[in-house]
């Protein structure tokens, strides 16, 4: 950390980050694509004339047409509408998993930095969790709780949480070394206030960068588990399971799997590009 007054660090650095990002054309493309996908997922369901769950067996696996822009799936449902709802579900799953991870991981990291006594036991627990590949969380929770929403969110959350805990502990420790923390303690502020208004307010930037990168992983894990049949169950529109449904008709109607998979890619790629840019900017600031 520099010897700047703490309040100036986030303000100054974020506008500098913003300027760097704007000079990066890849970033502009990424943000545009992501906005388009989010728009597609949020506005699409409102304007689509079709219901994602209305089956019409006589309309099975139709190629794209004026009425069905992307054709229909194996149950005769409008694929474009399924994808809109699917993208919404996938985005929500990613957000929910990441939010769960950020809340628990962030709390653990801050507590470990704030209370020296808790540091060792909490971080050893994190080491253990960090040693599990995310797919094992997915598999074991699906096996224990049955595949579905709860096991899925928990699996996503648990696989991302340890990383967030580490990052927030690191960020919080460097804030703890600042004079204003001692100052706050001396004037008798309660621990909760110190943690929220002093610690968190100054440590959140690196946590946010990490969370952005983790969101891409969260979406990929949700999609992979959905594809394996261990995530949300049909007929729920979710991109991974739409891709899996299309797999049975890969040679007659390849567009079903293709469109769902491509949409996942279009969500994850810009998020990862954004995360990389944030990380590079942060690295450059640090050096």
């Amino acid at each position: 950390m520099t010897d700047l007054p703490a309040g100036e660090i986030p303000a100054g650095s974020s506008s500098r980050t913003w300027r760097r990002m704007r000079r990066n054309p890849a970033m502009a493309i990424g943000v545009t694509v992501l906005t388009a996908v989010v728009f597609f997922a949020l506005i699409g369901p409102m304007i689509s004339p079709y219901d994602p769950y209305d089956t019409a067996l006589r309309m099975r696996l139709k190629p794209p047409s004026a009425a069905h822009w992307l054709g229909t799936d194996s149950q005769g449902r409008d694929l474009a509408t399924r994808l809109m709802y699917g993208a919404r579900t996938t985005l929500m799953l990613g957000l929910a998993g990441v939010a769960f991870a950020a809340l628990t991981g962030g709390a653990i990291g801050l507590l470990a930095a704030f209370y020296k006594r808790l540091d060792n036991p909490l971080m050893r627990l994190i080491d253990v969790l960090l040693s599990f590949p995310s797919i094992l969380f997915g598999l074991s929770l699906a096996a224990m709780m049955g595949p579905g929403l709860h096991s899925l969110i928990l699996a996503i959350g648990l696989s991302i949480m340890p990383g967030i805990a580490r990052i927030s502990r690191g960020a919080a420790l460097s804030v703890m070394a600042q004079d204003f923390m001692d100052g706050g303690r001396v004037i008798g502020l309660p621990d909760v206030t110190l943690m929220r208004r002093y610690l968190l307010a100054n440590a959140y930037a690196p946590i946010l960068t990490y969370v952005t990168l983790a969101f891409g992983d969260a979406v990929l894990l949700a999609a992979a588990l959905g594809f394996l049949g261990l995530g949300l169950q049909p007929p729920t529109a979710e991109l991974g399971s739409i891709a899996a449904e299309g797999r049975s008709f890969l040679f007659i109607a390849p567009h079903v799997s293709f469109a769902a998979s491509a949409l996942i890619f279009l969500i994850v790629l810009p998020v990862n590009m954004l995360g990389d840019t944030l990380r590079d900017a942060a690295d450059r600031r640090a050096s």
Partner: protein, 313 residues
Amino acid sequence: MPGRLAHRLLVSIFVLLGVLLVGFLMLQVMPADPAAAIAGAQGTDAEIETIRRHLGLDKPVMVQFALYLSRVVQGDLGQSIINNASVFTEITRAAGPTLELMCAAMIWSLPLGLSLGITAALRRGGILDRVVMAISVAGVSIPVFWVGLLLVQLAASTRAFPIQGRGGAIWTIDGLPHVILPATALGLILLGPVARMTRTTLSDALNADHVRTARAKGAGPARVVLGHALRTALLPIITLVGLQVGALMGGAVVTETIFAWPGVGRLAVNAITTGDYPMAQGAILFLALAFIVVNIAVDILSELADPRLRSRT
């Protein structure tokens, strides 16, 4: 650094205990009575009672956990509810193919990732660097199953490679064509992270003092890059590969499912979707154990790769 290795071993013990607890819990939440499930539809009450006592299901939970541990240590992972097959036997049969697939994926992706990373580091900021970085970010953003499905479509239209199953050991004439597609899909997971890490660490190493000294002494460019710079850059790359084994495992589960590869990942997924709790428990236990062993091996490897770690006690 022996301290690091000791720390790793200590963590591993807890990880192992955690995994065993998960495996144990998986059998606890089994909706059916495990004893009745093992006895089968024709099982008499007396038989069920005998099995119950054999499994220790009449004892307190802690005792049951201890019994479970002792059974696992002896390689007794129970029987499948579906076909009564020994879980241990099924897993040993599936472990080979999974290992084959992972090795086949690494054989092409590690050297290629390293070369891409070296190219990018030497031409930092240039057009090649940008291309490599674009490949790298696209590689980590693409769902594995998409790559798998695209390969299936491509192979089906060209009839170049078989798209289902395993044709025998991968070094045989029958086996090799079968592994090409799944290994291609799986290796892609590793390519991006390895290229990226090589680029970062190698660019740092190229600016290090000892590399400048090597240049000053008149070492040729190939010797400077491969002998001096890459040598020091290797350590983070090895560590990264160890961490990526987890991602590789996740990819293997998906790839095995797409290509009907008879590995542990497919075994686990099938067991979970069919409600075969003992089989799921065994497969997950095995995958976790394999992950722990690989990571310990990586720690030992990194000490061998970097003498600076060995001398610093």
